[in-house]
Subunit: 356 residues, 2 copies
């Protein structure tokens, strides 16, 4: 598995005309080597891969890392890596433009005088965007577990309970039902607070006849899932129901536009056109979706001006929303896997308006 990934990365290194890449972002290191700990570096050259970690992770690295030589550094990992660069006589290396810290860059620059350092953006991220069948199988299980947690947690929602308590119960159910941990801080936003797309759960109590946005995801075997549903306790008024139907229509229209070869921005556009028909275009203040995998937000982004073309095997969210200040908001989010002819929805939870 790692061999195939490393092979594809080497093709990108040849294209970028460098002899190797210094990988510092942990999710990228995990993708390339299998290591799940919190301190590591990797050097991928055209000929070999070297993995660096510290003494705490000696046993774990020997169990997890495949396809790379493991070096347990006595002092600094960067120094150990620079030693390997020098021993190999490498003279032109790339590093991760978006992920490396200035400090790492500066240390490399001072320590590797004979080596030209070239920033390279998103190389491993590009590989990660297209998932293998094995990765899709894991993500499917993560999405299914997330939906199971949602169903269990819905039974615990009632008026008078605080948003923060509902969020805490959801996260408890995640672990109880076998998740590694939440993929992000669970959002429970009710009433006027549901109009804030990035609301954090507060001590506000849930009441009847208000919109409640629940945005949750679990991590399973390292892979994230992500789902949003908007529900209500007690019947909603006509305005809220109309907004709900419009967002659902926009979400279905965006899903229908997903297919290998389509530009990301064209999927986003379908959601916007639909909301425009309902006079809600201005209330949709974020992008339509994002890739999901070893990180909760990864390539591609489905925004207004994203020209990147979708590829079969990409796993993305489709999550339009409408946020009406002072009134409330609706967001509906599924995960889908892009196929040659369309897409497959990975999220099994129904999308009709649930009144609890």
């Amino acid at each position: 598995m790692n061999g195939e990934r490393l092979g594809r990365l080497r093709d990108l290194l040849v294209e970028a005309r460098v002899e190797g890449l210094i990988v510092s972002a942990l999710p990228n290191i995990r993708y390339l080597t299998g290591f799940t700990g919190s301190n590591a570096l990797a050097l991928v050259t055209r000929d070999d891969t070297v993995f660096f970690t510290d003494g705490r992770y000696k046993v774990q690295a020997s169990l997890e890392v495949r396809g790379a030589k493991v070096i347990v550094a006595k002092a600094s990992l960067v120094r150990a890596l620079m030693g390997s660069v020098k021993r190999r006589g490498l003279r032109r290396l790339a590093f991760e433009r978006r992920r490396a810290s200035f400090e790492l860059y500066d240390t490399l620059r001072r320590g590797l005088k004979g080596c030209r350092l070239q920033p390279l953006a998103g190389a491993v991220e590009k590989l990660r965007a297209v998932k293998s069948a094995a990765e899709i199988a894991i993500i499917r299980r993560a999405a299914e577990l997330n939906s199971k947690v949602f169903e269990t947690s819905l039974r615990e929602i009632r008026p008078g309970r605080a948003e923060a308590e509902v969020a805490a119960r959801i996260e408890y159910n995640m672990r109880k039902l076998g998740a590694e941990k939440p993929a992000f801080e669970t959002i429970v936003a009710s009433g006027a607070r549901s109009a804030l797309p990035h609301a954090r759960p507060t001590h506000k109590l849930l009441t009847e006849k208000e919109l409640i946005i629940i945005d949750q995801g679990v991590i399973l075997d390292g892979y994230s899932s992500d789902m949003t549903r908007t529900v209500a306790v007690g019947d909603l008024g006509r305005r809220a129901k109309r907004v709900y139907q419009a967002v659902l229509e926009a979400q279905l229209a965006a899903i229908a536009a997903v297919r290998a070869g389509v530009k990301a921005r064209d999927v986003d556009r379908q959601a916007r056109i639909t909301l425009e028909k309902h006079g809600l275009e201005e209330t949709f203040v974020h992008s339509t979706g994002h890739g999901v995998g070893l990180e909760i937000h990864e390539a591609p982004r489905l925004g207004r001006s994203e020209k990147v073309r979708l590829e079969a095997g990409m796993v993305i969210t489709i999550e339009p929303g409408a946020y009406l200040g002072g009134f409330g908001g609706v967001r509906i989010e599924d995960m889908v896997v892009v196929t040659e002819r369309g897409c497959e929805v990975l999220t099994p939870t129904p999308k009709d308006l649930r009144v609890l």
Copy 2:
């Protein structure tokens, strides 16, 4: 409050001979301006402070930010910041060496040709290390809440329950009792797994007569707490009890060494000397403690070779441990605030061996 912090930072800028600092680390921005959102930059000059965020945070910034001019950037925050630098005619600015990404540095370097950029390490972190009376009051409450969560959760520990479930219950109790969220992933490590200092909770079931390490912290009003206790279900054997007493003795010896003016490494040394007396020096594989505040790990570090002197108002953990491969481990951790004459322990939970 922010005015005083900004004043102290300006003194450091004069010392570093720069006209201002570009702040990119979010905890540092929060410390200086009060902003709690997830996207921001700040420019602190000798004369003024400018805060930059995006449209999503317009309302939040106006509610939270004090002592700085707020600019809501239409496009990129960095571009808005570079505009402010140019309008002020600044020619020598520092940026955060350890916290800035290479990408931020590279964008600044290209966009600010007439301005000299100088990396500066740990300026705001240095201020943050010494807490005000108001900060200590919040941290005290966070430590007390953490202990309350621990007591509540102890009642839910029993043989046959998985480590991961106990961890999930602890985190649920955190929220239930009013915490913002866990300060880090709660550790519950039992039996031979307690010998792994960085163990993550697994599906291993708790059994009787084994060591169980519980390391937990809550965030309250933005400030973290951190505590470790080692407990047992059913009576432990003599060896485990001996290790427990040795670690407790080491922890008390380290606490007794804390005082303003003492070097961090001398506190660490007291823990090591004590463990050495019990033949356990080799089993203590990490440092004795770290600062805690807006981040769970911050300055100062209490390691073997840290020469920094403790100052009154620093809040640090004291957490020696002994890890015996294949057998089990013990760690005991409190938070203390450094005073002129010694320290005050902020963690109210007793430290005698608890057999449940």
